[in-house]
Symmetry: C2
Subunit: 409 residues, 2 copies
């Protein structure tokens, strides 16, 4: 493949994670090294910054601060939730992107996000091809939800899982806790991570995932039984659990209007308190609902070193493959065969990954539907290994401080 000389642009999209900036470090540090890449731009708020011609010249940053990105949570460049219309329906955004790309001779685009972001990459890539503008576009996966199709796991999941498992172990020790809740949309990967705490003898008694319909009566019966026996019961539930008719349990006791986000997903929330109120009402027990909320997606102070390293590697690989001539792909992970955990990189087509959701296999959930099997533990345990921690100054983390010098033509 012939060498393609030009600038690259990098953007972050969707909900933050503890390691999305580690991928940013991977892309930026690698791109700054590549001879074919003439400038490295960081888009402010993802695709929005590209459309608004608002991006930073990453060569102006202090190398130490770029290194600190590996342990700085959330999106250093700012994130966005912006859905591109289909080019067949409205070309405005695409024309604008082409104009900006031409103006700055942007020939590489790296985009870090989940399902929706891969869809964005895919659409831009197809349009640029059709317009005859040579440009290599690579997706770098991230989502704490771990629901991206085509990859063994997602950067961001390991650290969230480590936070959840650790906090669950700590909550377990907090004697007077009777119930708790956790976030997660339609795939239960995050809630399932609490099973890692259970494996250490400090986990929830019951775990409910959105992969299976939730039976409130059966749950109340089981929870009451355990409570009577142990005087204590800890339950982990996914925000997105539904009953057999497809109704969200969080809607049971709540009359809050359900709003929808820009991608048409219902905005879920408040299951822990809804469920806690139902249990209080039915059993009279003292119940405490705990929402891990966004703490689980930004807890860089307890990130998984495996996750951070892989997130970095994903960013780096995206740049290397693009420079070598690959485009239109997402970097994905593949677990090497053998007993020792090893994570290899593979590429998958953007079209395949966009808008497909990966759920927990049924056989990784126990028969009763209220716990995880050994297969899940084997899968998740290596992902939370290793301690990644930001440097500490006087007891608090020192996160990266970027200068954010705007790029000029």
């Amino acid at each position: 493949m012939s060498e393609l000389k030009g600038a690259c642009i990098f953007g972050q999209s969707g909900g933050p994670t503890s390691v999305i900036n580690a991928s940013a470090a991977g892309v930026i540090q690698e791109a700054l090294k590549q001879g074919s890449i003439t400038a490295v731009y960081g888009a402010a708020h993802g695709i929005k910054g590209m459309l608004d011609e608002k991006f930073y010249d990453m060569s102006k940053e202090d190398p130490y601060e770029l290194e600190l990105l590996k342990t700085t949570p959330s999106s250093a460049l700012g994130s966005v939730r912006y859905k591109l219309k289909k080019a067949e329906e409205d070309e405005t955004d695409y024309k604008r992107l082409l104009e900006v790309f031409k103006k700055y001779n942007i020939r590489y685009m790296f985009y870090n996000g989940g399902n929706d972001s891969m869809d964005t990459c895919d659409k831009v890539s197809k349009y640029m091809q059709k317009a005859g503008y040579e440009c290599r576009i690579m997706g770098v996966p991230k989502t704490i939800d771990n629901d991206l199709w085509g990859t063994d796991h997602c950067p961001g999941y390991g650290s969230a899982a480590k936070y959840i498992a650790t906090s669950t172990m700590e909550v377990y020790h907090d004697a007077r806790v009777y119930d708790k809740g956790m976030m997660g949309r339609n795939a239960g990967w995050l809630t399932a991570a609490s099973a890692l705490a259970a494996e250490r003898g400090c986990g929830p008694d019951l775990i409910y995932l959105p992969e299976l319909p939730f039976d409130l009566d059966r749950f109340l019966e089981k929870a009451s039984g355990i409570y009577k026996k142990n005087n204590n019961v800890i339950v982990a539930v996914s925000e997105g659990i539904k009953d057999k008719d497809g109704k969200y349990i969080s809607e049971y006791g709540s009359d809050l209007a359900q709003s929808k986000d820009a991608f048409g997903h219902a905005q879920l929330g408040g299951l822990a308190s809804t469920l806690a109120n139902i249990i209080k009402h039915k059993t009279g027990a003292k119940v405490r609902g705990i929402e891990f909320s966004l703490l689980q997606r930004c807890a860089a102070h307890i990130a998984s070193l495996t996750d951070v390293s892989e997130a970095y590697m994903a960013g780096q690989a995206a740049v290397r493959f693009a420079v070598e001539g690959r485009t239109d792909c997402m970097v994905a992970f593949e677990r090497a065969a053998g007993t020792e955990y090893k994570c290899n990189i593979r590429l998958i087509n953007l079209t395949e990954v966009a808008n497909t959701e990966k759920k927990i296999p049924r056989e990784w959930i126990n028969k009763e539907g209220d716990g995880l099997t050994e297969e899940f533990i084997k899968y998740a345990a290596p992902l939370i290994r290793g301690e990644s921690r930001p440097p500490i100054e006087n007891g608090l983390p020192r996160f990266a401080r970027l200068k954010k010098v705007l790029a000029t033509k």
Copy 2:
């Protein structure tokens, strides 16, 4: 003072903290070394275990597990909220305690807790004196609320403050957060700790403490102003804030029945969501309420080493002073004069400390009443220094596992 030979009993009471077990380690390890102490008992669930004659023989524990108590959160022996009646009104419990103490020749009692626990110590101590039973009783302070009178600060506060400051810095990086809430009863020490994050440039824009009346209109005006300017506003609020008429703000939008705990304190909760709903309703902004809930009191994975060491030292000092002949006191901290932080031990009478609450001085809060001054930062900064972390096994903490062998007469 003459030597007093006999067994000692140790109990934990009230809400758990990250370092209550570090004090337990201090008491137990020191007591096991003392020649005058013939047996070391750990009461199951505090005063309840003493009354029920349910306590463990701590000499039967593996020394390594006792060492791990320093980094294990919550109450290893189990906690309790049990209020002793005044002896003048009902002697039953006191008579029973005397009976148990005599049966096991218990001559030392160490009790780890907050205001209410010091009140318990005080009552028991007075009764034993009146009954002519020689027994040395020492209180070891703990509470994340930091509201104990007579001590510079409380074991438990530094670690909770560190967790809050760190999590606040992380949440700050999580771009799409507009509002958050934190726990705390009537003294705002915990919420104030978010000012430590502000000092690092990653903190809340506004901080509201229960030390001052809360003006909802003024708050909405200020928050809207900051939101308009920065497109983002982070607010830290204490659970216990009230308006000028003394009404809890958490009651504003809530029709939940207010229940009371065993000590007659109103059970607060849900302020973050109440306030978030009010802001959503008034401004239309996307608001996210985050409750740190009990995560802040059990986050041993990010405990302050200063706090852990001082908690241990408090337990150890209680035993040493008692063996030397002191009784009827609580171990308290005193900051040494000078620029370098140094924490000295002093003893204060139980009667003085019980049921008095220490609030944040007015001059440590800014004029507007929505932020902290440099004095608070100077006070709190040394308390969160140093990293205490449990040993990690395959990515997760290894907490202490006690055998809990029941004591036999």
